[in-house]
């Protein structure tokens, strides 16, 4: 996020590369250290410098990079920071700039050294317990969204720290634990915790999806829709969208209409055939006209092919030195004066090692010696 907003980001990779390079999807379904979709998405506009942080002399190289920087971001487990000698105290002594340390569980407490995956993070920190069916196991959010949310929170924290540095001249340590990010999630977790504190109630996995006469995910002719037609305005708009006068009967408008199985069944006999005889596109168009709270479930292909999103710039392309041109997700926001922009694709492994080491004042023989000694690559 920071690189795409214009920051120069020098990424220190381990020999062999960031773990993300081993995660799909793969460009052309062909695995390879430069072909990872996860890596390409997360590292646009960055430079790659490969350093073996365990090698003797590595820290002196890192110190030179810190000399170039306004901000350090690290995501080492606390024990690894200690072992490598890359603690906040060392960074502060090297250059008093802000340091953002992202850790699984923070720098103290009983879980300090525990490991996380996206699934375990979502299970512990977020509202997984209330997601899924009552008689089944709790279910996670899609993809690796929980981890990506933590990255976005990290960008906010980093920008706050840079702002304090530039305005007040203070470098400082900013700690961000992934667990805390999810505990604070406005995707119902922070609310669920507060509800428990207020009245002892705990979110539960629902016995059935949706509410009212129709709601939640429903099927239509060519896929699914997310529907909110709760009593009041949203029901009236839903009725207008369907356009069947029989649905306008007052018996359906009551907030407790769904409690009467006969009424619910009667409504379903009108609604379900209508939904199943219309496509997502047809229904969404009618929904927009009536301001009904109805939206289609898109898959990746729908997003990629959607003319409106393409026109708006949801997608862009990058030109890669060895892979050629390929599509990339575009901007999350449109900034009028300082546009989000991909200036260059994700770096190849160690692409900038020599140029950056030269920039920080190392001589060619010194750099050659670091390569020969396996300190850099």
């Amino acid at each position: 996020m920071l690189a795409d907003l214009g920051a120069r980001v020098i990424k220190v990779e381990r020999p062999g590369g960031d773990v993300a390079r081993r995660l799909g999807p793969w460009l052309g379904d062909e695995p390879g250290v430069e072909r990872s979709g996860t890596y390409q998405f997360l590292n646009t506009n960055k430079e790659s410098v490969v350093i073996d942080l365990k090698a003797p002399g590595a820290r002196e190289v890192v110190a030179r990079l810190v000399g170039l920087a306004d901000l350090v971001v690290s995501s080492f487990p606390p024990a690894v920071s200690d072992r490598l000698g890359l603690s906040y105290e060392w960074f502060e002594a090297t250059k008093p700039i802000p340091v953002l340390e992202m850790t699984n569980f923070g720098s103290n407490g009983p879980y300090r050294d525990y490991q996380l995956s996206d699934t375990v993070l979502y299970a512990m920190g977020a509202e997984m317990w209330s997601l899924g069916a009552a008689d089944r196991e709790p279910i996670k959010i899609g993809g690796t969204a929980a981890l990506l949310q933590c990255g976005a929170m990290g960008a906010v924290a980093a920008l706050g720290a840079i702002t304090a540095y530039e305005r007040h001249g203070v470098g400082q340590l900013v700690e961000l634990s992934l667990f805390d990010v999810q505990i604070n999630s406005v995707d119902r977790r922070s609310s669920a915790i507060l509800a428990y504190r207020f009245c002892g109630r705990v979110n539960a996995r629902p016995r059935q999806s949706g509410a009212g006469l129709v709601g939640g995910v429903v099927a239509c002719a060519d896929g699914y829709l997310e529907v909110n037609a709760s009593a009041g305005n949203y029901w009236r708009r839903f009725v207008a969208m369907v356009g069947d006068p029989a649905l306008a009967d007052a018996k359906f408008a009551s907030p407790v209409a769904a409690l009467d199985p006969a009424v619910k069944g009667e409504a379903e006999r009108i609604i379900t055939p209508w939904l199943l005889s219309h496509t997502r596109a047809e229904i969404w168009e009618k929904a927009r006209r009536e301001h009904a709270i109805v939206a289609p479930l898109f898959a990746g292909k729908d997003l990629f092919e959607d003319a409106v999103f393409r026109e708006r710039g949801l997608w862009t392309e990058v030109e890669h030195a060895t892979l050629g041109r390929f599509p990339m997700l575009g901007r999350p926001y449109i900034l009028e004066k300082t546009p989000w922009r991909i200036r260059k694709p994700a770096p190849m492994l160690g692409e900038h090692t020599r140029s950056v080491l030269t920039e920080v004042g190392l001589s060619t023989p010194d750099i050659d010696a670091l390569y020969a000694g396996g300190v850099v690559a």
Binding site: M124, I141, A152, L159, G160, V170, S191, L225, L297
Partner: protein
Amino acid sequence: MSGELLPLEGVRICDFSIVWAGASATMYLADMGAECIKVENPYIWNPMTRAASPRLTAQTAAMLPAWISGHPGGEPQPRPWNNSSAFIHIQRNKTSFTVDSRRPEGLKIVQDLIRSCDILAENLPFGTLDRLGLDDAAIRALRPDIIILHVPAFGRTGDYVQARGYGSAMDAVAGGTILRGYPETSPLGNAAMVPSDFAAGMHGAAAVLAALRHRRRTGEGQLIEMAQVESAVQMFPQAALDAAWNGRSHGTIGNRSLEAFVPNGVFATRGGDEWIAISCRSDEEWAALVRYMGTPAWALAPGLEAAAGRAAAEAEIERHLSEWTATLERMPLFHALQAAGVTAGPVMTAQDAAEDPHLAVTGAWTRLPATEDYPEIDWALPPYRFSKSDVTLRTPPARFGEHNEYVYREVLGLTEAEYAALRAAGHVTTSYEPDTIANA
């Protein structure tokens, strides 16, 4: 120490944001020290912004899911808008005042406020501010160097501008909903959730922080348009890129891993409705799990030592693991697996989280005194911990109209007589108007 070295000290926000996406963006900025002044209209009930309903009673609250209708003691009245579990905490570090901006004298108040603001934030239905006479040009005429954050649901251009929805609608279109669910069933059973609100709040705050930096350097404000749906897409890049690159559409994979970790799932433990999540992120973690289980014969089958072999036997591995975890308690198993080098964790209820021993000692909560609207309880602190700047929960969640006197008298400099006239005209209040409550 209070207020010291705050990143956004002296920055003021005119905040029209509602529900969670916009309101959490301004919450992060308020945490960073911005003075966030919420503009609230006592004649308009914005749905899902201060409570599920202004008429919510103990009975109707109990019928709704806990997160949306948890109120102190289960009793929302008399002011449900000041103690909703879903919304009150999003008002931390903020300031609230009331005004009916649809009337001329109310609009003038808002215009005066905008003149003193560095940022205007809104995620109202498309066109709402324009109808008030506060289109971008009008706002910039009042304050030329202002930063305007628009968070429309589906954009301010294109065919989808009139599409309405909460976070669950944006999550559907962003491609998130279709990825959720059990592998053998359709997404029809999915409960509504709102990860797109979470993403949009963070992306919105980041964009404003970037725009503020540009303004510090050039004196220039700017417009930010962040369609919530487009921000949400950033949470699901693997599925989007696989479609774009390889023509493949992802569906539900349950709790299995997109990152090819096997096993990766949630397994029942001893006791009722208790579960543990386990991820073997490497062959080493698998070997550690096998050792910890006591090297059972099934786990020694040829090929399972490598991820590809485990992927071929994934269902079989999950079945064996379920049988094993069913005999064990989740919390001791969690600690033992982590100590053995296996990534694992309990599926935590809200109660588990509230009572978690790690969060208790790492400073996740702070106790705030009781008010007339809620009791003395622990509230969540922001997740980012700054060692020098006072970035934390500095002032309690703003109740409706709580800071009327401050905003009208100190910020806007009205005389006592002017303030009294606006109060008499119904602008200044700590309650929604009775008709508004009745018709919400």
